[in-house]
Symmetry: C2
Subunit: 354 residues, 2 copies
Amino acid sequence: MAGGSGTRFWPYSRKRRPKQFLHIIGESPMVVETCDRLGTLARDDELILILGEEHVPEAEALFSDRPVHILAEPVGKNTAPCIGLGALCASHLGSNGPVAFLPADHFIGKKAAFLEALETAAALADTTKAIVTLGIIPSGPETGYGYIQKGDAISGKLREEAYRVSSFVEKPDLDTARQYLADGGYFWNAGIFVATPDTVLTACRNYLPELYSGLMRLQPSLGTDRFPQALEEVYSALKPVSFDYGIMEKTEEPVFVIPCECGWSDVGSWASLYALRQDRVDHDHNYSEGEAMLIDCRGSSVSSRAGRLVACLGLRNCLVVDTPDALLVADIERSQEIRKIVDRLKKEGKDDLL
Amino acid sequence: MAGGSGTRFWPYSRKRRPKQFLHIIGESPMVVETCDRLGTLARDDELILILGEEHVPEAEALFSDRPVHILAEPVGKNTAPCIGLGALCASHLGSNGPVAFLPADHFIGKKAAFLEALETAAALADTTKAIVTLGIIPSGPETGYGYIQKGDAISGKLREEAYRVSSFVEKPDLDTARQYLADGGYFWNAGIFVATPDTVLTACRNYLPELYSGLMRLQPSLGTDRFPQALEEVYSALKPVSFDYGIMEKTEEPVFVIPCECGWSDVGSWASLYALRQDRVDHDHNYSEGEAMLIDCRGSSVSSRAGRLVACLGLRNCLVVDTPDALLVADIERSQEIRKIVDRLKKEGKDDLL
C-alpha cells in the first residue's frame, strides 16, 4: 500500500515524491525496503504495489528489473478500497493462501521478529480464515496511534502468541495511553493485516457492500485492456473509508492479533525519524547529514540536502531541513504541525513547493 | 574608514563583501549611507574613503558618479595608521580645517542630532586645535563598547554641551557598566574623532613616532605614480595599533567630548541589527525579509536572501539567514559567537565560504 501524498516530511517530501518513495531512513526508498524486507516470504512476482497514478513512473523506475505488479489507483480512497482491490488482484493472480497487506512507508528495526510474526499471522489466517492483524507491543504511552485490545489467548501450534481481538480503540489521550501501557493488554495498531483474498472480499460484502459491488464489476476486466477504464469508473463512485473503520471495527467475525516486538515505527514526523536515528547522534544528541556544521547545539536534527553549508550555533531541539528550493526551520517537538506550512502554501497557490 | 573584514554578519557578509559594503540596514550600503549622511557638511570631493585593496572595485562601482577620493590600504593596520594616512591626505588636498574621522559601518538613527554634534566638534577642534570625540549617551549598561569619562564642562558659544575627557575606559563588565549608567558621567566611545590634520599628525609624532616617520616618508609621493609602491613599503613595516590605544589613551594634550544622542549603533552583530529593526517586527516580535513564512514564531529574525522559501515553525529567539551557498541558523542571543563558525571554516580550508 504505497498510496498517500505525504506532507509530513515537507520540504523533503513533496506531492510528487511522498515519503514512501524517499530514502527517509535506511538504504533504499521505503517502498523498496518494504518489499525487500519480506525476503523469502514472497517472490517478486507475488508482490502487488498499489499506489497513486502520479507515482507510477517513479515505482516503475525503482522496480525496473523486478517482476512486481504495479497497480495505479486513479484517486486515493483510503485503505479499504486499496485492500479490497489488492485482494481481488491477488485472487486473480491465483493466490488462495493468505496475503499480507502492508503499508509501504513504515520502518521496522527487527526484521526477523517481524517476519516471524507475519508467518504466524499467515498460518492463523490460513487455518481460521479470519483476518489477523499484527499488534505492536507499545514502548511508551503513544497518543498518535490507534490501539488493539487483546482478548482470549489462542492455543495451537503457532510460533508466537496469538489472541482474539477484543476491540479496536481510537487514538487515546495521554492518561488513557498510560493506562493501556500499564494494563499490558493493548497493542499499537500498525495497520498491517493478513488474510486470504476470499476472507477480505467476504468482509467487504458484509460491511462495505458498495465497495464489494464495485470490485465485482471490476472483476471481468482484470488482466484486460479495459481494466484502467473500469477501475476509474468504479473508483470515482467509491466513498473513502479506512479498512479499520469500515471493516475491523464493525466485523462480528473473530479477528486475531499477533503481538510483535519488531522495532516498528510509522515514521510519522521528523521528530519520530529523529527518535529512530538515536544510534547516529553525536554526544550532544544531534543528528546531522550533508554539509552541516553544528556548534554548541543540542537535541537538534540538521539535514543539508542541497549541497550547501548549513551552519548552526547554539540551537536546542531544533529541526533544520534544507532543500534546493525550500528550507524548514522548526522546533522539533512541533514537527507534527508541518501540515500548517503545507496548508498555507496551498492557500497561497505555491504549487511548485508542494 | 571602510577597512575591516567583517565576519560578524556571516553568511551575508564575506571577506570580499564586508558589512560596510552591504545593505545591512537602510537603503544603501553602509559606506554610502555614511557619506550621504554628511549632507552639506562635506562635498563629495572632500571625502576620502580609506579601505582595503581588495574592496577598491566595489567602492569604485558604488561611487562611480561621485568625485570621492578612494585610498587603498595594502593591508589593514587598525585605526591609527588609517587616521594618520587620512590626515596626511586631507592636508595634501589643501584642508587645514577640521576633519571628521568616521567608521563607515555604523548606524545613526537621528541624523540631525549627529550633524549638530559633528559641527560642534568641528568648531571646537578648529578653535582649540585639540582632538574632539563624540560621546554617545548610553541607552543601557552595554558591555560591548569602550566608554569615555567626562571631565569639566567647556563654556563657549558652542551649539551643544562639551566636556574635557577625563579618561578613556576599556569595555567594562556588567556591574561596572551599570555604575557608569547610573553615574551619568560616561559616554560610549563610537570611535568618531574630529581634528585638524596638523593636530592628528602632531599627535602621531608625539605618541606613535614610527607611524609618523612612515607618513613623512610617504608625503613626497602623494599625488604621484610612486604613491602605491611607497604606501606598500611604509605599511608593511607598521605595527597595527588603534587610534584609541595608540593616541587617545596616552595623549597629555586636552581632549574634548561632545555628548550626542543620535541613535547610534555599531551594528556589531545580528542581534544588534535585530534590535535596530524593532520598528519593522510583527506582533510576535519577528523580523522577516524575503520569502519567509513564520508560523507561531517569536522574537526571531528570518532573512531569505537566496530567493528560496524559508518556512519556520515554533521558533523562539532564533536567527535564520539564508544565502545561495550558506545558511545560518542560530540562537539570536549568541550571534556574537558567529566568529566561531568563520574560524572553523578557515581551519577547514573552506575559503569559498569566507
